[in-house]
Amino acid sequence: MAQILLRHREIPDINKLPVYKKNGGFAAFKNAVTKMKPAEVTEVVKNSGLRGRGGAGFPTGMKWSFIDNKNWPHYVVANADESEPGTFKDREIMEGNPFQFLEGVAIASYAVGANVAYVYLRGEFWELAASLDEKIAEMEEAGYLGDKLFGTNYSLRMYTHLGAGAYICGEETALLESLEGKRGQPRVRPPFPPAVGLYGKPTVINNVETFANVPMILANGAEWYKTMGTADSAGVKIFSLSGRVRKPGNYELPFGTTFRDLIYKHGGGVQDSRTVKAIMPAGASSSLILVDNDKILDTPMDYATVRTLGADLGSASVIVVDDTVPMDWLVNKTVHFFKHESCGKCTPCREGTYWMSHLTERIHGGHGSKADVDLLLNVAKQMQGKCLCALGEFSTMAVVSGIERFRQDFDHAVKA
């Protein structure tokens, strides 16, 4: 199947403006600005069934339609913070097929009436930011950004902004705080960004991959997009495959592709031909899917079906865990990550991740007791549903699912 997002794999030099243009680039944006009303653009995206690719899977068109039209100006922000361990798809899009992403941002801006759009990149993406700056300058020169675009009254400027390397800044409200020049700490929601966003103004914020889908949807229509994927999750998804597989990498596949196909057909199977013990479908934030029978691997990957396995598809950063990995080791890793990245704003996350890290350290180090495992589970559950943002919740996912589904590994660790 032809690639929709990772088109650079098939079309050489599509990261150059003339090549992108030759391959239909900016036609969708021009058509939208010159021939469509903003609400019509939103309607097409709504009808396509496109869901946010950042992790939560919220319907994109619906998000755009929530923008508060009584309060101006509006902003569009691209979340290019890509900080979930095991996720590396946005980077490839921005490196290989940057104009499609930027065109998506431009179309979204037109749809919600924003005249300024920001691309917020994680701090480590400084080379990428510099390259995007060049692309933006080229777009300005070519008349795709600037004042009175295509002879209409619509104007749009775009800017990149580098974060300082904090995981939390991938959370949309922390990102907005950081973009405003403040500490990257999440805000209480509601209000959500479409009502109160950047500088207190209505803001649409979407993931890079989400934006990259938009020009293709506008060019080919909502119905075309829905021919791919499943009823629950339309279209294609880039799966970032990592862990104990032979060929880790990004795989653009329709929703509904099974774990088995991803791991064995595309990923070349498990290293050393071992068996899959667990899958983390959404990076470090995942619940651990227990792969205790063959059927599990035949589960089609879309938002609704993965949930039946007691996990979220999230950003589809699929980490494969084989039978050599003790879960107490894995959970210790994820907990340390979240302890390190907790912003400190709310009590359960700040104190809970710190506490859990002491417990997982003790258990994995062989100094723990059965009571420590029970306590760890209890502390994680005590955090759940109490935190200010999703980070704190995420930190408990691997802990709770790990202990509940792989208790024997923990019991073994404390016995040793």
Partner: protein
């Protein structure tokens, strides 16, 4: 009245104003939802997760939008997770459960999480006994910790954020109340978080550290013992302290305070004031206090306190009896007849000033208020009156601030004016230079020093500022004494009064004139009929002078000379001063902490203060000393009961009509509800149980015919070449006797300074930090050069009460 919303909290039906959050609404209904980060004066942030409750809302039918009815009542849909009560606003029909199993477990969990990092050093913590964390742990926390003690983080316990406030990093629970207070209330964003996660910590972002005159308030609202004042830390346990209501005497705002006292071994077993705390008065200081008010109380316990009357014998002051001292003074004053002069300051109470004025009038003498600022008689005509409250000013009200740097002169007014501007009041700031208040001004108007009255008059001419002012429904003008002396402030006050009077901004709540006076009760002196004298030296020369509560000898060499040449000088004060040293008779007065009385704030609110500590030596209250002298002169004044003096005052002074001590002690319910057992809600500020005070009437509110005099043009000195126009400005921390006794403030007081424009400094060959002499009128003073490019090249700013006696603009030579 705002729209009301009815909801149910723990089965209790509650009707509260729309827009309140659930914590505040519950509080009004007598239900305490535990909080740490939420404070009723700050925007909710939902950080600490202590106020977790279950929230349900009436379900609506998607199609019709109508409530779904089940068993005759709207069906309630509960949120899947616990919600923070502080970030949820009340809604019609909302159901809140604060004490069911789910909510209780959530609250308990939060306390347990907080305690995993908290050092639990309550036995050595200043906050122990009045600590929200301690109280909420007892009420909601687990009995035992599951966290291993040895795994606790160890952090610095004595981090000075500035010289006034210390941070204990272990105790901090990262609620950000202090940061948010500084950002939202004080407007000095000098605190912030550093690092993240469990290593996140409070830091000062300013140089000097914690550079704000409101810093002490953060220790009141800190819900743990993380922030303590350098003044009180390790000073006492809260339960050992007694509390006496008082009024701050440092400026004309009249902040309500509570003096915490205890018997102190270090003070030889005497009862002393251990700390000054704010006492709630939402119409005056809300629940705040500036650092000067909080820390500069030490003069009352100074070693320089006078304790015995003295009479000069053989050129030396020697102890004498009250009888002898007052008789001698009386004899001299009687003999002086019309050459008898009372020189009294606004440090005194209304009762003291009333007795002094009555005595001067009966004896045929003169009575002057010791102040560099005039125009007070106009405030008795068109001053603000009943119903005036900065807290209710917003859209529709114009606030004009002229010739005053409110941040330095009356910090709490600065806060309240700033908040009013944020609520939509039109703020017009007129000053030759930029002040902190300009940040919040709708209009900043600049004029040259000397052009104050004209600048105010010009507000009636066509301009954007004038349009906004004239369109306003209400207007108040606060006028100060930056760059003006007696004559200048007289012209300025007249121009202000005229503007108010001619445009209908008088006689109604939130309308009228406010003087930003030098002292706490200057307003009271004006009400009693005191006047100021431009050429005070001339007025004192050769007279028999009764100096009360003032130190002119220290302030001004010219006045020192005049008093040296006076016929007789009796000085009544609480402390030894340069003026008591040249006195013929010295009369020791009680400090405000030792007695009872009333003060009139600049907003013309009369408020009572109460005794807190025992009397020093044989000192007597000022009104009683005056009555004793009067008796010896054949004038009968009340000298025993201060409330009787007040009753007599009420009979004589029209603006006080109808008042009595009982009325002044009346209180009403205030919001937020603070100072009760639930310290976590409002902080350690005290509830007001002893009186909110009462406004005076003005000639305008009484409907009297007003006649405002013409504005007299003031002649401003014109500096010659190589001279600068030195203008006096006011500084919060200065070398006045009531401030300088607080050693803690010395760093903030600093040296006498002269601020020059960089170009002026360059022209004179001077650099920043250099010590120079400022020469004028045959005298000179030493000062350190500061550079300030916001001022005019031709002027030199000289702070008052810092050792250089510039009371009004004067031409000076500044030399290395």
């Amino acid at each position: 009245m705002s729209k009301q919303v009815t909801l149910t909290i723990d089965g209790k039906q509650v009707t509260v104003p729309e827009g309140l959050n659930v914590v505040d609404a519950a509080k009004m209904a007598g239900i305490d939802i535990p909080v740490f980060c939420h404070h009723p004066k700050l925007e909710p942030v939902g950080m600490c997760r202590m106020c977790l409750v279950e929230v349900g809302r009436p379900m609506r039918d998607r199609a019709t939008g109508q409530f779904v009815i089940e068993n005759g009542a709207p069906k309630i849909q509960f949120m899947p997770k616990l919600e923070t009560a502080c970030t949820n606003k009340v809604e019609e029909g909302m159901v809140v459960l604060t004490q069911n199993e789910k909510a209780t477990a959530g609250q308990k969990g939060t306390v347990e999480f907080l305690l995993t990092s908290h050092p639990l050093d309550c036995p050595i913590c200043d906050k122990g006994g009045e600590c929200p964390l301690q109280n909420l742990t007892m009420a909601h926390g687990p009995g035992q910790s599951r966290f291993i003690y040895d795994e606790k983080m160890h952090l610095d316990k004595q981090v000075p954020l500035g010289e006034l406030i210390y941070l204990d990093r272990e105790r901090c629970i990262q609620c950000a109340r202090c940061i948010r207070f500084q950002d939202e209330i004080a407007g000095d964003s000098v605190l912030g978080f550093d690092e993240r996660g469990r290593t996140m910590q409070i830091v000062s972002l300013s140089d000097p550290g914690f550079d704000s005159v409101f810093s002490g308030n953060t220790t009141d609202i800190c819900p743990v013992g993380a922030l303590t004042t350098a003044d009180f830390r390790f000073g006492a346990r809260p339960w050992e302290l007694d509390a006496s209501p008082s009024i701050c005497t440092q400026c004309p705002v009249g902040c309500n305070t509570t003096l915490n006292t205890r018997r102190e071994a270090k003070a030889g077993g005497e009862i002393v004031v251990k700390r000054v705390m704010p006492r709630q008065n939402e119409e005056v200081n809300e629940i705040w206090l500036c650092d000067k008010g909080r820390f500069a109380y030490h003069y009352a316990e100074s070693k320089q306190r006078l304790s015995k009357p003295m009479i000069r014998k053989d050129k030396k002051l020697a102890r004498a009896s009250w009888d002898a001292a007052t008789k001698l003074a009386a004899e001299k004053f009687l003999k002086a007849k019309k050459d008898f002069v009372v020189l009294a300051s606004g440090r005194l109470s209304n009762e003291d000033l009333f007795n002094l004025k009555t005595l001067a009038d009966h004896a045929g003498g003169k009575s002057y208020l010791y102040s560099h600022m005039a125009g007070g008689e106009l405030t008795t005509l068109v001053g603000v009156s009943a119903g005036t409250n900065f807290g209710t000013m917003g859209k529709g009200t114009a606030i004009v601030v002229v010739a005053s740097d409110l941040y330095q002169e009356a910090p709490i007014w600065y806060l309240r004016v700033k908040q009013a501007a944020k609520r939509g009041a039109t703020l017009i700031v007129l000053n030759p230079r930029k002040t902190k208040l300009d940040r919040y001004a709708s209009f900043s108007v600049r004029y040259d020093y000397g052009g104050e009255a004209k600048a105010v008059h010009d507000l009636t001419k066509k301009s954007k500022a004038s349009d906004a002012l004239m369109k306003a429904e209400n207007a108040v003008i606060l006028y100060g004494s930056e760059g003006v002396g007696v004559a200048g402030s007289q012209s300025l006050a007249t121009a202000c009064a005229k503007l108010l009077n001619e445009n209908g901004f008088t006689g109604r709540p939130n309308n009228g004139l406010i003087g930003v006076w030098e002292r706490a009760n200057d307003q009271g002196a004006w009400e009693m009929g005191f006047t100021v004298e431009d050429d005070l030296a001339k007025a004192l020369k050769g007279k028999s002078v009764y100096v009360v509560g003032a130190d002119p000898v220290n302030d001004d060499p010219k006045l020192a000379k005049a008093l040296a040449e006076a016929k007789f000088v009796a000085v009544q004060d609480v402390m030894e001063t340069a003026t008591t040293e040249i006195a013929d008779v010295v009369l020791p007065a009680q400090a405000f902490t030792e007695r009872e009385g009333t003060l009139t704030s600049g907003e013309r609110r009369v408020q009572r203060f109460y005794p807190a500590v025992p009397v020093t030596g044989d000192a007597k209250p000022d009104f009683a000393i005056t009555a004793q002298i009067a008796r010896n002169m054949g004038v009968i004044l009340e000298g025993t009961s201060v409330s009787v003096v007040f009753d007599l005052l009420v009979e004589t002074v029209k603006s006080f009509e109808g008042l009595n001590y009982a009325k002044l002690a009346e209180v009403r319910e205030q919001f937020p509800i603070v100072g009760r057992g639930d310290m976590y809600y409002g902080g350690t500020t005290y509830e007001n149980k002893h009186g909110l005070g009462v406004h005076l009437s003005s000639a305008a509110t009484r409907g009297e015919r007003l006649s405002i005099p013409r504005v007299q043009k003031e002649a401003v000195p014109h500096p010659k070449e190589k001279e600068l126009l030195a203008v006096p400005v006011n500084k919060l921390y200065h070398r006045g006797t009531t401030v300088v006794s607080a050693e803690l403030l010395h760093e903030r007081i600093g040296d006498a300074s002269v601020s020059l424009h960089p170009d002026a400094a360059q022209r004179l060959g001077l650099r920043a930090g250099q010590t120079v002499s400022v020469n004028f009128n045959g005298t000179s003073g030493q000062a350190v050069v500061k550079l300030d490019d916001t001022i005019d090249e031709g002027v030199a700013l000289v702070p008052r009460s810092m050792g250089i006696a510039i009371r009004a603009p004067v031409a000076v030579k500044v030399k290395a």
